[in-house]
Symmetry: C2
Subunit: 351 residues, 2 copies
């Protein structure tokens, strides 16, 4: 029997019995790397996918990218985004490109239709084909190219793992995780940039430090504050209309950063004070084992983890209720035939 780091995390009932179960694991850490709570194996290793984006923006901002190119918080948020490809998102990407001298044609992210249904429909009506700027990662790729321009590095091969841009990002990410770069496993992301796999515990620590960078160097700490401030000021730039990360950060009122990734990954950062006066920053990293392509588990599990940590008030949970944590299951005639619900209790250190 193979060993697995994953345990039953979210389940769907039909009638009286459980029909389906999503497995997964999650870790909650503070900025010192202390494991505060977990479920499944907190050492489970998985790719962060787009959950890595704030760290992929980090060295560019640490090297004064924002002030050099006079970027706005909305533009910084978009560099950390998996955006929905709306016209507003594209206008913001274009603005970054105009300020930094990056051209859309230089982006190596590929092309996919925008996630936002209304945008897709409007594009269909006017016969517009999607271009790279509609890609959910266009802000990240523009940021990587802007970083190369900032440092006068060649731009052509900016997504090669050996490129200065990627080496710099890898070092920054590893440091945030308390890992050596060679402990971070590399893979090619959906957008062709390098992506990182690391233990959940390490990623939770990195998100906690993003939210409380007081132990980091002044330059990095300032860059972390630039990122969390931009993401919480402009949640609409980080994802898009109706998207979980956007709505969670809106509800979080400056105290929560949230960044989902493909294949059921999510990182959440709780800023100091999110759990009450003088509460420390915490980071959460979670992985739904099966990748959860329809997103029916990741959102609800994220909410349930926040609920069990005491990070959301009754009012906040009410505002987020469309995402769970407990939801009815409907059939084609809209009859309620079952329930989708969390199947985990966080384990807490010392209890």
């Amino acid at each position: 029997m193979p060993d697995s780091p994953y345990l039953p995390l979210y389940e769907l009932t039909r009638g009286e019995i459980v029909e389906s179960i999503h497995f997964g694991a999650l870790a909650v850490c503070d900025a010192n790397g202390r494991l505060v709570a977990w479920y499944g194996d907190p050492q489970a290793v998985a790719y962060l996918r787009s959950t890595a984006k704030p760290f992929q923006a980090l060295p560019f901002l640490e090297q004064e990218g924002k002030s050099t190119f006079d970027l706005t918080p909305a533009e910084v948020a978009l560099i950390c985004a998996s955006h929905s490809g709306t016209d507003t998102h594209v206008a913001t990407v274009l603005s970054i490109q105009s300020k930094t001298g990056v051209r859309e044609a230089d982006l190596l992210c590929g092309v996919h239709p925008p996630y936002d249904e209304a945008t897709l429909e409007a594009m269909r009506e006017r016969g517009e084909e999607p271009s790279p700027n509609r890609h959910n990662c266009s802000g990240k790729h523009t940021g990587m190219l802007a970083y190369a321009r900032l440092k006068n590095w060649p731009g052509e091969d900016y997504i090669q793992p050996s490129h200065f841009v990627q080496q710099s990002i890898l070092r920054a990410f590893a440091e945030m995780c308390d890992l050596r770069p060679e402990q971070v496993q590399l893979g090619i992301d959906g957008c062709s940039a390098p992506n990182f796999a690391a233990p959940l515990k390490s990623v939770a620590t990195a998100y906690a430090r993003l939210c409380d960078p007081s132990g980091l160097s002044p330059g990095r700490a300032a860059a972390c504050r630039t990122i969390t401030s931009a993401m919480t000021l402009h949640p609409e730039m980080v994802a898009g209309p109706g998207k979980f990360d956007t709505i969670l950060m809106e509800c979080g009122q400056g105290k929560i950063v949230s960044k989902g990734g493909a294949e059921g990954y999510r990182g959440i950062g709780l800023l100091p004070g999110a759990l009450g006066p003088s509460s420390p920053a915490l980071g959460i990293a979670l992985k739904i084992s099966d990748g959860d392509p329809r997103g029916r588990a990741t959102h609800a599990v994220s909410l349930e983890a926040l609920r069990q940590l005491g990070a959301l008030s009754a009012d906040q949970l009410e505002s987020l209720a469309e995402f769970g944590p407990v939801l009815p299951v409907h059939n084609w005639r809209k009859l309620v035939v079952g329930q989708a619900r969390p199947a985990f209790r966080l384990q807490f250190d010392g209890r």
Copy 2:
């Protein structure tokens, strides 16, 4: 830690590491109910969903429904189908309805757009809204109503669990499984008809008996043969263009019946001789724990189970290669970034 009947069954790599894992379980039985092979807990209980359809057709056929209404094998196959809603499928449903006096308006399955993309596009172009006959279960519901007419039972509430039609179906299904009706758990299906949950081992036994009904009563045995013959003669009626069950049964050349269900369920029957001269019939029941909404695990796992059982030749595996069992994972620029592959070895009785 909660106990689970499911184990890692199918995995996706990115670079050098496993990124995502689908959990599941499966059972392989012969017509005597002997467990021949398994993975995970063969007693795992899950809803069959559309995998139940051949058994939902069984009592109607046992009661001479086919000869009474002069149904063709293609029409019988459609009564056992989760069809794609093509014009051919709808014409076949209409033919059954015309022969049996059932009206489309009597179907209580609800409405969804047809699964077949080309059909959906053509309907959009001519402004046609989907009607119940396009529903993947319209054949099943027509068969249930035809059964009520055959027996002169009232038709209105034919999907109530207490209705004669449903009670008769439940008894037949339970008998095929070697269970008492009260051991079968009931839930409401996507199409609002009752659905059954049973141990994988019991469902595997039922599929083996469907394929070798020699131990059953003559009437039921004849009905089983009518079903397997109809499904293998008309695989295109059981699912649709490009669909796994259709293509697997085409490749199976009369020796394999296959019926998928929602939430990652599938039943497969191997007819006598499928594994070589004088091999006994076998039934396979499998469940992907997370429900596998994109179908990236169920097809590949089905093929891998058949491969490990020796049920598919190299040529057959080649014809089915688009479904796995090992597939490349591509990104937006069509780069190969990883591999999707089975993560299980069947356990065999006595080895």
